[in-house]
């Protein structure tokens, strides 16, 4: 039986092996992913991101337990960072998800970022497709703990949840121009800690300013921004989604059912307004672009002789060239044909 058929028939070991193939072997996983793709498009893909230590894994432990009561099946990808030095990693998200082990309706896989900086690894999108094809109702991706600009999850998920906690005023400030822009739902976890209302009001204010600005923009011009970068903020029009701010205590489960309700409401919202089509297209665009970037770089590296590269470096050291000119000259010698339909 082919790997794909085994995965679809619910063979968990085959699923685990397929995920390894996607992670380890860019070339040879391509055919499998092509076949996987024909079986995708059914799962609700949820991204969970937020600052390190906010309680993302603990929150997921509680949320998934609740989802299991509704008989939803779940595939989880938990991403943790790789060391820039040793390339090794400690993947510790399972520690918090101990209640989910032994449940055949849940499959958890830890992934290391392997050098990627956007909060995911380069194989996360492929892994999501594999879990989707395996028939899980929801696929949840937990990113590494992020700071400001790691927004790759937005183009990989249908619903993005951003998890913060009280008393992180500075981080909230920092997040204002970053991860909060991608939030469909904001969670203030550890809400039994002091200052939860202060944090909530900061967030509410930030969202209100955002929606006022959007209304202003749409009155004066057609928005031409990249749609996946503005999704989630309560845009103008009747189809707008109001980003809820939910307070939770993940360790006790408080607020988690409210989070689940909003998650379902968001999915209803994007399916009924057609927004999900936009998000699916954004996701495909992101995967397509990322594959192109990676393959172009690989091809270019193969065409660039190491001796030439090192000689250019020496010339820079004696100031006979500079890195700016040298890079352009390399590119000028790289043959690229125009790709596109003839006029």
């Amino acid at each position: 039986m082919s790997l794909i058929k085994q995965i679809i028939s619910g063979d968990r070991r085959a699923l685990a092996q397929a995920l390894t193939l996607v992670e380890n072997d860019y070339q040879n996983s391509q055919n499998m992913l092509a076949e996987v793709y024909t079986h995708t498009g059914h799962a609700h893909i949820i991204g969970v991101t937020g600052i390190p230590g906010a309680g993302k894994s603990t929150l997921l432990n509680a949320l998934v337990k609740l989802m299991r009561k509704c008989e939803d099946t779940l595939g989880l990808l938990a991403v943790d960072p790789s060391s820039q030095f040793s390339k090794g990693a400690i993947l510790g998200d399972r520690i918090r998800m101990r209640d989910l082990l032994g449940d055949k309706g849940v499959f958890i896989r830890s992934m290391a970022t392997r050098g990627e900086l956007g909060g995911l690894s380069s194989s996360t999108a492929g892994a999501v497709d594999v879990l989707d094809a395996a028939g899980f109702d929801r696929v949840i991706v937990e990113t590494v703990g992020v700071g400001q600009a790691e927004v790759d999850i937005a183009s990989n998920a249908h619903t993005s949840i951003v998890v913060l906690c009280p008393g992180v005023g500075d981080s909230v400030q920092a997040a204002k121009s970053g991860i909060l822009e991608i939030a469909d739902i904001i969670v203030v976890n550890k809400s039994d800690y002091p200052k939860v209302n202060v944090t909530k009001s900061y967030l509410r204010e930030m969202l209100d300013i955002g929606s006022a600005v959007q209304v202003g923009l749409s009155e004066t011009q057609n928005m031409t921004c990249d749609p996946h970068l503005v999704h989630g903020t309560s845009g103008a029009g009747n189809n707008s989604w109001q980003v809820p701010i939910i307070t939770t205590v993940a360790t006790s489960g408080e607020g988690v059912s409210e989070l689940f309700d909003h998650l379902l409401a968001h999915y209803d919202h994007i399916t009924s307004t057609g927004e999900i089509t936009v998000r699916r297209q954004n996701r495909l665009r992101a995967i397509f672009e990322s594959r192109l970037r990676k393959q172009l770089y690989t091809k270019f590296s193969q065409m660039l002789s190491e001796d030439y590269f090192l000689r250019q470096l020496e010339l820079m050291m004696v100031r006979e060239t500079d890195p700016y000119t040298a890079a352009t000259e390399c590119m000028n010698n790289f043959e690229i044909n125009y790709i596109g339909d003839e006029d």
Binding site: R12, R13, A16, Q17, L19, T20, E23, N24, D25, N28, S82, S83, S86, K87, G88, A89, I90, L91, G92, R94, I95, R98, L101, G102, F107, I108, R109, S110, A112, R114
Partner: protein
């Protein structure tokens, strides 16, 4: 295939709460370039084998300080076999009396590491067992 990192599960089965050793090992393996899936304390054999299966690891290390190795290790090995994971090397660390080491090796354990083992020996043993 390109040079992919070794994925190894580090777990503490049973009820003893001393995870210092497991954490030192996890850190040493990380610094040796491996991806360590660390599951923490109080794991049952079922949880360990289920995690090993989902994570498709190349090796497993368990730390046992409670003296329950003669119960826990055979149970883990049985479950690994039941799940088709008989090729995944299992290492045991912690307090294992000398007289019991041979018995564990006979059961199929790939290596037993007592107190004082250097982390570089452990890294080499894992690399060798996986290659």
């Amino acid at each position: 295939m390109p040079d992919n990192p070794i994925r190894i599960l580090i777990a503490k089965p049973g009820l003893d709460g001393h995870d210092r050793g497991a954490k030192v090992i996890a850190r040493a393996l990380r610094d040796a370039g491996m991806e360590v899936i660390y599951t923490g304390l109080r794991q049952s054999p079922i949880m360990i084998v289920e995690a090993a299966l989902q994570e498709d690891v190349n090796a497993i290390g368990v730390s046992i300080l409670s003296g329950a190795h003669q119960v826990l290790v055979p149970r883990i090995i049985d479950l690994l076999n039941d799940n088709g994971l008989y090729n995944v090397p299992l290492f045991v660390g912690g307090i294992i009396p000398d007289n019991d080491v041979e018995e564990l090796i006979q059961l199929g354990v790939a290596g037993v590491f007592g107190p004082g083992t250097s982390t570089s020996d452990i890294v080499s043993a894992v690399r060798e067992a996986v290659s």
